[in-house]
């Protein structure tokens, strides 16, 4: 089996170890970008969603405006605004944060974080506002204060109900990171494009890249299935 595989790899001129290594490096970058943006975005989204449900209209309107703008415009424009916009500000090249902006990684990460934070905020808000009123009243009757109710009652049940929609958002983010290849980063898509332009073989190069994304999708899907199982075990 392994011998056959080695023989097969030796025969083809495209998928040599060095090319496979390029795809591997791309995969590492894609996973890094996805993981970091989803994790940071989530921790931004939770407080934003809570403020979004606040009774102070101007507070919730501000957050609404943020999510409306970031959900209503293409991620590519957001990335261009950050990647080209911020780096072209006068004097930024001499500022102490320039080392962060020099590399395309951090502008990309910033764009992805803001984008996923906007979508996640709306997802979490959706499940916050559908929390059973009776549960909150019961908690109040027990004498819990607002923070206790939030921490013990509202958030755990909201996270549970947000899980299915949130897993879609994570897969969406995995796909969205392919845009990083537009600003010189070599992620899976970037590796695929390099291989395509070297061999002029679009089908092999992009189908291989697509296959890697599919595998990552399945992995994310499996993780969320386990999480959902854990979250809903009291109902089983």
């Amino acid at each position: 089996m392994l011998d056959q595989l080695v023989a097969l790899l030796e025969q083809n001129e495209m998928f040599t170890p060095s090319i496979l290594n390029e795809y591997w490096d791309g995969t590492v970058l894609t996973v890094q970008l996805t993981f970091l943006s989803v994790v940071i975005g989530f921790f931004l989204a939770v407080p934003l969603a809570i403020i979004r449900t606040s009774k102070y209209v101007w507070l919730s309107r501000t957050i609404w405006l943020f999510t409306y703008v970031f959900r209503g415009t293409p991620l590519l424009i957001q990335l261009y605004l950050i990647y080209y916009g911020v780096t072209m500000i006068d004097g930024i090249q001499d500022s102490p944060i320039w080392f962060l902006l020099e590399d395309a990684f951090y502008p990309c990460l910033l764009a992805f974080v803001l984008n996923t934070a906007a979508y996640s905020t709306e997802i979490i808000r959706g499940s916050l506002v559908t929390t059973d009123k009776g549960e909150i009243e019961a908690a109040e009757a027990y004498g819990m204060n607002y923070w206790q109710i939030l921490r013990r009652i509202i958030l755990p049940s909201a996270f549970r109900r947000a899980l299915p929609a949130y897993s879609n958002e994570v897969i969406f983010m995995l796909h969205a990171t392919s845009i990083a290849s537009v600003v010189t980063l070599v992620d899976i898509t970037g590796a695929g494009y390099n291989v395509y332009s070297r061999f002029y073989a679009p089908f092999e190069a992009f189908i291989f890249a697509g296959g890697i994304y599919l595998c990552l999708c399945f992995a994310i899907f499996a993780v969320f299935q386990r999480l959902e199982k854990r979250a809903f075990r009291h109902l089983a």
Binding site: G72, T73, L76, I77, Y84, H175, P202, G210
Partner: protein, 254 residues
């Protein structure tokens, strides 16, 4: 007032191209979606397997990768097709080949060598239509499944033909269930059209980027473009609300 330094008209043309691209892609996507949904709902084993593979594979791969695959693949495929046509030309002396169907222009000329081109706009429409056909397929399938079977049986019992059942009973109710999904897909589709700038189509994102690079004024060009997208989104949401009310007329509580 906003001074776009002479780039205003060209970016405006880019905006029109974006809207045209989105609308044509939507039409292709809806047609493909209906076909896939019907194939999975009432098709044979093979056609429903193809539909299943199509919807799941396309939804599992990023739009940009699919776009590059189809766009660059189409070019290579057409080159191979050209070679095949060239053989035809050699054997049967056929000299020109030209199809013009309004928005699709396929042409081949045999004078200075051999080539077939598909214009970038058609390629973009076909690509985005193909991608969102998969998402539409899932939306329509859900909607088809939500229509009450008893009503379809009742309509058949009244002696309506299959087509009449579809047009009078199935379609109006299906649309009510499908509209929120179609609306979401449309909003995502509009934003996806921004990606065609990457494969070389001159939509407003590409034109704004070129203008920004020449003038070193990125905010001046990207922010108005972002506002155009926001405007499209906002108008779409209003139209969708109206349509949802229209198709829910027969339901209590509306």
């Amino acid at each position: 007032m906003l001074d776009l330094q002479g780039y205003g008209p060209s970016i405006f043309n880019g905006a029109i191209l974006t809207v045209k691209l989105a609308i044509f892609s939507l039409i292709i996507a809806v047609l493909l979606g209906l076909i896939t949904a019907v194939a999975r709902y009432s098709g044979g084993k093979i056609s429903s397997a193809i539909a299943l593979a199509y919807t799941n594979l396309v939804r599992g791969v990023p739009d940009l990768v699919l776009m590059m695959l189809i766009y660059f693949g189409l070019q290579v495929g057409l080159n191979n097709f050209s070679e095949w046509l060239y053989e035809l030309h050699e054997t049967y002396a056929i000299n020109a080949f030209y199809i013009e169907q309004g928005w699709l222009t396929l042409s081949a000329f045999y004078e200075d060598g051999m080539y077939i081109t598909i214009d970038e706009f058609s390629a973009g429409v076909l690509t985005i239509g193909f991608i969102f056909g998969a998402y539409m397929g899932e939306t329509f399938r859900g909607a088809l499944l939500s229509v009450d079977k008893g009503q379809l049986e009742a309509a058949t019992a009244y002696g309506m033909s299959d087509w009449q059942v579809f047009r009078r009973v199935m379609f109006p109710q299906m649309m009510r269930f499908a509209l929120p999904g179609i609306g979401n897909n449309w909003l995502v589709l509009v934003k996806t059209t921004a990606l065609v700038s990457v494969i070389g189509l001159s939509d407003m994102v590409k034109l704004a980027k070129e203008a920004a690079m020449t003038t070193y004024e990125p905010f001046l060009f990207f922010i108005p473009v972002a506002f155009v997208y926001l405007a499209i989104t906002t108008v779409s949401e209003i139209v969708l609300k109206y349509l949802e009310n229209h198709f829910s007329k027969g339901v209590e509580g509306h």
